[in-house]
Symmetry: C3
């Protein structure tokens, strides 16, 4: 693909991808979140007079309520919708018209959308900061910030941890993003607990190898659990197994029960991005090592820190350099460019290859 | 049923059933509500920095808006949903996982649910106070508080009143709860105006008799109205009549018209929990004795008093003693234990019989 | 029709029709909006402790978010719904019961409804100020206020402007209302750019003629554009063309492209009430004359000024004089009186003819 390079600079910072923030900025966010948790009253009027818009084009109650509470607990207020059927979308308005208009009413725009790249698209014309609250299976950076805050607060460090990742490691964006984040800190080691069919994809293993992070792949949660400092559970959907037979044979192996947990260390942390279906038995909830409900509360604090930083902080300015091509040719059928043909045709170069600037997929050949 | 007794104590008070509050506490709530109504400005920042979550698993606009306004007029803020289809429920998350997570974001959780016992279920794991805003046909304690505040403010007393209850006395939880509450005050007398088919059930008559409260059953609103201090109207749904023929013959008898109202005392109060369909003629609205729209406003004030008390008051600690049984065996098909099998199996002893701790029904034999 | 005259006076002002405000009051509103835009911090606590209810019986995301933001940026708070399926409407409650109850919770009630006359109906029994946020195809006065503020701020004047109105001039209430408003200011001139089939209706031309305002009707946007100070674009829906053939032949004529815009003056303003579908090419968005996204932001400021005035101002009291007739006989099938038979039967005399007091249509003969 050929095209001219275009550099965009933003008057206000966005969080579309966690890599929009430097390692120092992430650490500062975590420290701020910890301070807010300790002294909430000191921040309760920080964002008075400011407005957050939460535009949820698909339902995600927990994420939406977490962002809303974060803004309200900073003294700000909230507008938004959670039901695309009720929005102007039903009158055929394109995504960026809606987000541009609403960005004129608000100080920070939080967007959740089933299409990959939607948050990036919204950010191009937004009059205020944009936060990606999940774009299809692509990115969900505040979930990863939540995980980092939980670990740093409950373990006291982000280094030298043996982290078990259990369940569907093939399809979980949460897992891939956590690996990218934690492999940047020294001394961490991953135990990947899954079936061969649901194993971690090669591009995520490449991240581990590039960072020199130790890892091993195993198939038994029960055998792996004694050595773990952290067990990160994920949901395996029935339809994700190779076959009905594989499902019947394997599913119980990846369910955390009280019996399996008995083999874990006394200071093990059990995390889960929630919602849980049946991959953690309800009896586990009463164990002090079950940290997933507290993790959700940490999610609120880290979002407070993020909103505070975007609205009141003075982060370094950010620029993006895109290649403007004559047409969209993204290979991803779920890319926002497929449903919003009026978006500018932007690509980026990533380790020598072209990627769609919206959804990170390769162009069609 | 056999099982061990378990005593739960709550760090913060809930309002699941009106009996969770003592008579003194109810009277204090009514006095506080009256003071808030008189001096709203004195309370407008009382709950600044606090968050209410309204989780409405079935629509009830008036109740939800009333709770929300109560919190907002105390200076607090509100999150929540009114559309289960938009919530994580649709991803298969169990009720208590959702309520536990949201309780970690908020300071008071208001729940409305079509299943009986849902508010009790939410309260077991909640990290904050829980208020029952209606659980199926079971309980709706803030409606009764609304009725008590309206009577105490508009009549100046809760004693020595002749109260007509008109319409469907068989199915109305509002009526049963009002009878329980008002029969505890001395000198009240009830006139039960209904068809034999829609008459007050025996367990509610037992409440009247146990308290020594006078009552009589009549079939004509027109004949009963002259002696009343209060007329509490309820909706009779067509499908609640014994037969189509009974409906045609009887329905007009229980409609309050201007003509019937002319026979009422000058200081009669006409109440209705709303929504009204056609059981009160619209021409009655202009009569000063029609108090149902003011009653809705009293509902907002009593909810302000409740929220204030739960968040800022120092009510006596509450404990519940439950019997833990090996399995759920509630006889009520609409009980929350039927759809949420992971709930603990709790029963209580009530006047010598076992009752489901969630929905108050008897166990299966 | 015969009937007695009834004069209603309102303790608080409403905005149902823009004519509820005098020319002086409109000018004061615009001046206040300009001041708020310049000094937002001076107003950010003005409405603290006050509550707005937004009752949207049909979805209109932009309008609802604009009103909500207006209230929040004044320090007030917001309740409401945007989904009639979730409201008590589904239990058969009539419109005015719902609005009366909610008006008891709030300080200003903003209503959007698909039936014409719904806002008037709500205002008759409301306990607080009512704002019409669109009643069917009838009135939408805050859109017109938005247009006036945009023109006065971006042009510096509301007089001596040549205004092109382009597209569907037959069905657009926005256009008719703007004509009524701008023809009251001296020296304005209208160029009506449309097909004969979608031309401005006679009653709207009568407004122009009565005010002595110059206008001409043309069919080519390209030819008209050089002389314009303002180009007000509207959507032409495909089904509004006379025939499929007419649609194919004519549609491109009314689309604003970069090429057509090149012929416009350097200080031309392009407005659009939004949502836009394809009547303005996306490439036009980057032209500094494209003012439609800024127009949406002006809409927020003018609503702040309106809410401020209704809640805190001391506008002259308003009275309405209606003729009470024995029955509703409005000729408009979409009139609120058709679906709400319990409304009082009110008419008004307008230039010698009877009009429905709700929807302004003539009575049935």
């Amino acid at each position: 693909m050929t095209g001219c390079a275009i550099t965009l600079s933003y008057p206000r910072r966005n969080l579309i991808d966690l890599s929009d923030f430097s390692a120092e900025e992430v650490n500062a966010l975590l420290a701020l979140a910890a301070d807010i948790k300790k002294n909430p009253a000191a921040y309760q009027d920080a964002c008075r007079g400011r407005v957050m818009a939460t535009l949820f084009y698909e339902p995600s109650t927990r994420t939406q309520l977490s962002f809303q509470t974060a803004m309200l607990r900073l003294g700000g207020s909230v507008i938004g919708f959670d039901n695309p059927g009720n929005s102007s979308v039903s009158k055929g308005e394109c995504l960026t018209d809606t987000t541009t208009i609403v960005s004129g009413y608000s100080d920070v725009l939080v967007i959740r959308h089933p299409k990959e790249g939607a948050a990036r698209a919204a950010s191009l014309k937004s009059k205020c900061s944009v936060v990606n609250a999940g774009d299809g299976g692509h990115l969900h950076p505040t979930q990863t910030l939540t995980d980092l805050l939980t670990l740093s607060q409950e373990k006291g460090r982000l280094t030298g941890l043996t982290i078990g990742l259990c369940g569907d490691l093939k399809n979980g964006r949460t897992v891939h993003s956590l690996i990218r984040a934690m492999s940047a800190y020294p001394g961490n080691r991953f135990i990947l607990i899954s079936t061969p069919y649901l194993a971690l994809p090669d591009y995520s293993k490449a991240v581990l190898e590039a960072s020199g992070c130790a890892y091993e792949e195993v198939s038994s949660l029960e055998e792996a659990i004694p050595q773990l400092d952290v067990l990160y559970m994920t949901r395996i959907q029935k339809e994700r197994f190779e076959s009905e037979e594989a499902y019947r044979q394997e599913k119980d192996v990846y369910i955390l029960t009280k019996e399996k947990l008995e083999k874990g260390k006394q200071d093990l942390l059990v995390l889960h991005p929630l919602p849980r279906v049946d991959e953690i038995s309800y009896e586990v909830d009463d164990d002090p090592r079950a940290m997933y409900f507290d993790q959700a509360v940490y999610g609120m604090y880290v979002r407070m820190a993020l909103v505070y930083t975007l609205l009141l902080g003075t982060p370094a300015p950010l620029t993006d350099t895109f290649i403007k091509a004559p047409a969209h040719t993204c290979s991803n059928p779920n890319c926002i460019t497929r449903s919003e043909p009026n978006l500018p045709h932007y690509y980026v170069m990533e380790t020598g290859s072209e990627q769609c600037a919206y959804c990170s997929h390769a162009p069609l050949r």
